[in-house]
């Protein structure tokens, strides 16, 4: 150990050895997980067509609103096998109106994913903030947040969401949110977040409590770290893994809830479509037009599966247990 020789004047730039951060390692592990990579591409694909829905539809020459009477028979049902699939309507047409299902699916992905993403984002932000605060500050603040969590969990959320849809959208409209779907979507996202954060907060709180016991948190405290440093530098970076997993699992969940609301009659307004609206509509045609029943369902399943597989992949990649070997 000939270390103390080095004095300030003699310091020189050291060559730095390429190193892999835990994130980078996780990324490499993730890249090796072929199934998860495929799943991510599927997710990206869905996100892509949702973002560029107008362009995609234009390129395909389809429109989600155009009525096509010719694709319907006299019963108002698709005029042809498999929901009147044709070169013009690749996935067939909607019974009753003859609108192109593919186009509606593409535009629907927009709304469904928007609801999913924003709800997830809000829930996560609220949940993470409150969870960390509760776990980190403990004591009275924790008690208040925990009791609030208990209270939120005691409510039959779906029932309340349905019951409050109309009065609250009206309230939102009177507050200046554009009438119609903007107000409805705002409401849906708000209530989903209002009830959803609890689950995130519980997990984050648990993680934070566990992290607090780790000595590096104490070390930061011993260096005089403030709350800001503690939360953002020490705690948050270590709870990304569970947060990402929650996100990947809850996003498709919110897509499903949105569709349930549509099914229960408090969802989106016409003529816009979400996958939920389509699912809700399609179940009536299980006999007359099974194709219609399956198309949005399969789309949702593919998306959900992709999200879950991607989430599992991320979790496996981030799994701290693979960071060190516990062999005697």
């Amino acid at each position: 150990m000939s270390t103390t020789e080095a004095t300030v004047g003699e310091l020189h730039e050291y060559a730095l050895i390429e190193s892999k951060s835990p994130g980078r390692l996780a990324w490499e592990r993730f890249r090796r997980d072929r199934v998860a990579v495929v799943a991510s591409f599927v997710v990206l694909f869905f996100v892509g067509i949702a973002l560029f829905a107008p362009l995609v539809c234009k390129a395909l020459g389809i429109n989600p609103l155009t009525l096509d009477r010719k694709a319907l028979n006299d019963f108002g049902l698709p005029n042809g096998p498999f929901g009147a699939m044709s070169r013009k309507h690749l996935l067939g047409v909607e019974p009753g109106t003859g609108r192109d299902i593919l186009a509606r699916l593409i535009y629907g992905a927009r709304i469904s994913l928007f609801v999913g993403f924003v709800s997830t984002l809000l829930t996560t932000v609220i949940g993470v903030v409150l969870g960390i605060v509760a776990g980190y500050r403990r004591g009275k603040i924790d008690a208040v947040i925990s009791r609030f969590t208990d209270l939120t969990l005691a409510f039959p959320s779906l029932l309340l969401i349905i019951a409050l849809t109309r009065p609250f959208t009206q309230r939102l409209e009177s507050l200046g949110v554009p009438e119609g779907n903007p107000a409805r979507l705002t409401y849906i996202i708000l209530v989903l977040s209002l009830f959803g954060w609890v689950y995130v907060a519980r997990i984050v709180r648990g993680q934070t409590l566990a992290l607090r016991e780790r000595e590096f948190v104490e070390a930061a405290r011993a260096s005089g770290a403030g709350h800001w440093h503690m939360v953002f530098k020490e705690l948050l970076p270590n709870i990304w893994a569970p947060i990402i997993v929650i996100v990947s699992l809850s996003l498709p969940g919110y897509v499903a809830v949105e569709s349930t609301l549509s099914f229960l009659g408090v969802g989106l307004l016409p003529p816009d479509a979400s996958w939920g609206v389509m699912l809700g509509d399609s179940v009536k045609y299980y006999r007359a037009d099974p194709t219609y029943l399956f198309v949005p369902g399969v789309a949702l399943i593919v998306l959900v599966l992709a999200f879950n597989v991607m989430g599992d992949g991320i979790r496996d990649a981030l799994d701290p247990k693979s960071d060190r070997q516990q062999l005697g």
Binding site: R29, R32, S322, Q325, L327, G328
Partner: protein, 340 residues
């Protein structure tokens, strides 16, 4: 005490495949244990000692583990027997205790039920009352005060030392021929450790069972064992009787280890003897002697040391075996460097 060779492990290899590669946890390990004797397996973390111990009871059952070699217990190859046969051996012929006495006990059941269960699984048809009586006796034997009152308590109601006593009681209830103790005192305070080691010795003296004691603590080895195997990088690098090891270590690693411990034990202020560097990762073992990177004696023979793994050989006119290329010179070198 009879000197029957109870267990002999031959050329044991254990590998785990992980996402980062194959971990060679145990490499070509051979040793044997005699009734009434205690074999110490010493090594630092990651040396493969716990995996070796688990292999004896076929506890490394994960799909990622693969085991080869043979483990002969009373002449029967344990690695070759089916599940049912190994179950008959577990807990009745060979018992095992673990490092952390709290986590070794099922927190959801009373200690009594866990001991009784261990008894009844090998004594089918025994009445509950009788089993309970035997359990009480055993608890009494291991020094649980007032066992009648405490037998229906849960593990978390006991102190660490008491828990380890309970674990021992559970392990010994069927009077096994061999006890594998995997770092039984590491989690305990020294005063409690002394109690537990005493207890184990007492019991061994009474029933003549063999013990494999896995530890990283040379002091524990010195106090408890008859023979020692020193493990490093998944291999046994030295095998000797306790006397031999502590008086005339024949492997540079053993020597270094002993030196570090002794200098801690004895010296006042001043530089401690150390072994430079860190233990190897079992993931990427060096091709030759795995101790080479830390070995300060291998100057002349470096070429040889780096190219192949030294076999375990007799280097002195004693019974000790050492896995070192230095062999003849080694002793001299070690002696020269031995501190005054």
């Amino acid at each position: 005490m009879n000197n029957v060779r109870l267990l002999s492990v031959e050329n044991l290899n254990v590998e785990f495949s992980t996402s980062d590669g194959v971990v060679h946890a145990v490499n070509d390990v051979s040793f044997s244990v005699h009734s009434g004797k205690t074999l110490g397996i010493v090594g630092e973390s990651g040396s493969g000692k716990s995996v070796t111990a688990s292999s004896i009871l076929k506890l490394n059952t994960g799909i990622t583990a693969s085991t080869s070699g043979s483990i002969l217990f009373n002449g029967k190859n344990i690695l070759g027997v089916d599940d049912k046969a190994i179950r008959a051996i577990r807990g009745s012929e060979i018992a095992m205790i673990f490092q952390d006495p709290l986590s070794a006990l099922n927190p959801y059941y009373t200690i009594g039920s866990q001991i009784i269960e261990a008894y009844k699984v090998h004594h089918k048809g025994v009445k509950k009352k009788e089993a309970r009586k035997i359990a009480l006796e055993m608890l009494h034997r291991v020094g649980i005060p007032n066992p009648e009152a405490r037998i229906d308590e849960y593990p978390h109601q006991f102190s660490g030392g008491m828990r380890q006593r309970i674990v021992i009681a559970t392990a010994l209830i069927n009077s096994p021929k061999l006890l594998i103790a995997d770092e039984p005192t590491t989690a305990l305070d020294v005063t409690v450790q002394a109690q537990i080691l005493d207890l184990m010795k007492d019991i061994q003296r009474e029933n003549g069972m063999a013990i494999i004691l896995i530890t990283h603590d040379l002091g524990v080895v010195a106090e408890t064992c008859d023979d020692v195997a020193v493990m490093y990088g998944g291999r046994i690098v030295e095998k000797a009787s306790v006397q031999e090891l502590f008086v005339t270590p024949t492997h540079p690693y053993s020597f270094g280890l002993l030196g570090a411990v002794r200098s801690l034990d004895n010296s006042a202020r001043g530089e401690l003897q150390t072994i430079a560097g860190s233990p190897p990762s079992l993931l990427n073992l060096p091709s030759g002697c795995s101790f080479l990177p830390r070995c300060s004696y291998a100057d002349a023979s470096r070429q040889q040391c780096a190219s192949f793994v030294p076999p375990l050989q007799n280097v002195l006119p004693t019974n000790s075996l050492s896995a070192c290329h230095l062999r003849a010179e080694a002793l001299n070198v070690l002696k020269i460097k031995e501190p005054s």
